[in-house]
């Protein structure tokens, strides 16, 4: 083959940063994402598509909230709780935010220990992350039952604009589903790490491929994304 250039030589010549590297990577007639494995690149592309889904939910919410003539309920009061005799505004949502950020922290540490090939610490940190995630979902279930008890439905809302119910159940429900799937996914990967699958290069049950500790990082990408979406929901739905 006269036109096949050795890939090593080409990679060595390619610019390492900036616009030139972007053009070189995309026009290299090989793989565009040179430093990311296919698994990581595909997770990023999935997360991009998920960004569009959540983006459209938040857009729809913005549109109905801006165009309704019925007053929107004040989230600060709706999500207030009375703790030890004092009425704290939005406290439940604040605690949920801290729980999810803590879980993101433990996940980042799990990824770090995974690459250090510290099997036990990685698995334990992933289990802690899953526990935080489960706590978050539990608090969300509490929040949902509280609002349902107060008569809020996706089609009606005694506190004000009916679109509040629709937007609330749709957005937090979809996010809660993501957290739940993440918890399940975390438990599965934590079990693999604990068993030493990535040290012994044991083949996967479905794929029959050898796993690597990079799987922990890819799992982490999904988990951090769930936290990232909550950052936007917290700011745009609860603090607006």
């Amino acid at each position: 083959m006269p036109d096949s250039t050795p890939t090593h030589a080409q990679a060595a010549m390619a610019p390492q940063a900036g616009w030139q590297s972007l053009v070189a990577d995309w026009s290299s007639d090989q793989r565009a994402f040179k430093s990311a494995s296919w698994g990581k690149a595909m997770m990023w592309i999935f997360l991009l598509s998920d960004t569009f889904i959540f983006g459209c939910f938040l857009l729809a919410y913005m549109t109905v909230r801006m165009s309704t003539t019925v007053p929107w309920p004040n989230p600060s009061e709706v999500f207030a709780l009375e703790i030890a005799g004092t009425n704290l505004p939005l406290i439940l949502i604040a605690i949920m935010t801290f729980v999810l950020i803590s879980s993101s922290g433990t996940m980042a540490m799990a990824v770090n220990y995974g690459y250090r090939r510290d099997r036990v610490k990685t698995a334990v940190l992933m289990l802690v992350t899953a526990a935080f995630g489960a706590t978050f979902v539990g608090m969300q279930a509490f929040e949902w039952s509280k609002l349902i008890h107060e008569g809020v439905r996706p089609w009606e809302n005694p506190l004000g604009a009916p679109q509040f119910g629709a937007a609330f159940f749709m957005i937090t429900g979809f996010h809660g589903t993501h957290v739940t799937i993440g918890v399940i996914f975390l438990l599965i990967i934590a079990r693999k790490v604990w068993r030493g699958d990535f040290d012994q290069e044991r083949r996967g049950f479905f794929t029959s491929r050898k796993g690597r500790y990079e799987v922990v990082e890819i799992m982490g990408l999904y988990w951090h994304f769930v936290d990232l979406v909550w950052v936007f929901i917290f700011a745009l739905f609860y603090l607006w």
Binding site: S21, W26, K34, M62, T97, G114
Partner: protein, 112 residues
């Protein structure tokens, strides 16, 4: 081939970096909550909420998701398309304003 080796061994960063970012995320979340707690209103409320939101999002994506160490080819492929969502948001602001205008103009005479 240092790059390929680095990619193979994965992202190696000091634990301290993650702890610092984690701490900042806590502080920024506390600030966001304070905005609501002290009932700041108007432009001040909006700019603070959006500022804290973008700082938190940036820290999570750049450090926790390791985007700061990926090659530009991946970063731009992932980070530029969401700009379209912002353009869409801009379009829907006009749409929502128009809907509100027609509702107030045509339906406001009769109460309810």
């Amino acid at each position: 081939m240092a790059l390929a080796t680095a990619a193979h061994e994965g992202q190696q960063h000091p634990v301290k970096l993650y702890l610092v970012v984690w701490g900042w995320l806590f502080v920024l979340s506390a600030f966001s909550y304070m905005v609501d707690y002290f009932q700041l209103q108007g432009i001040l409320r909006w700019s603070l909420i959006l500022l804290f939101m973008m700082l938190k999002a940036g820290l999570i994506v750049a450090v926790f998701m390791h985007m700061a160490w990926e090659r530009v080819a991946l970063s731009y492929a992932i980070l530029i398309p969401p700009v379209l969502v912002l353009i869409f948001a801009g379009i829907m602001v006009f749409e929502a304003d128009y809907t509100l205008f027609t509702r107030e103009h045509f339906f406001h005479a009769e109460p309810g």
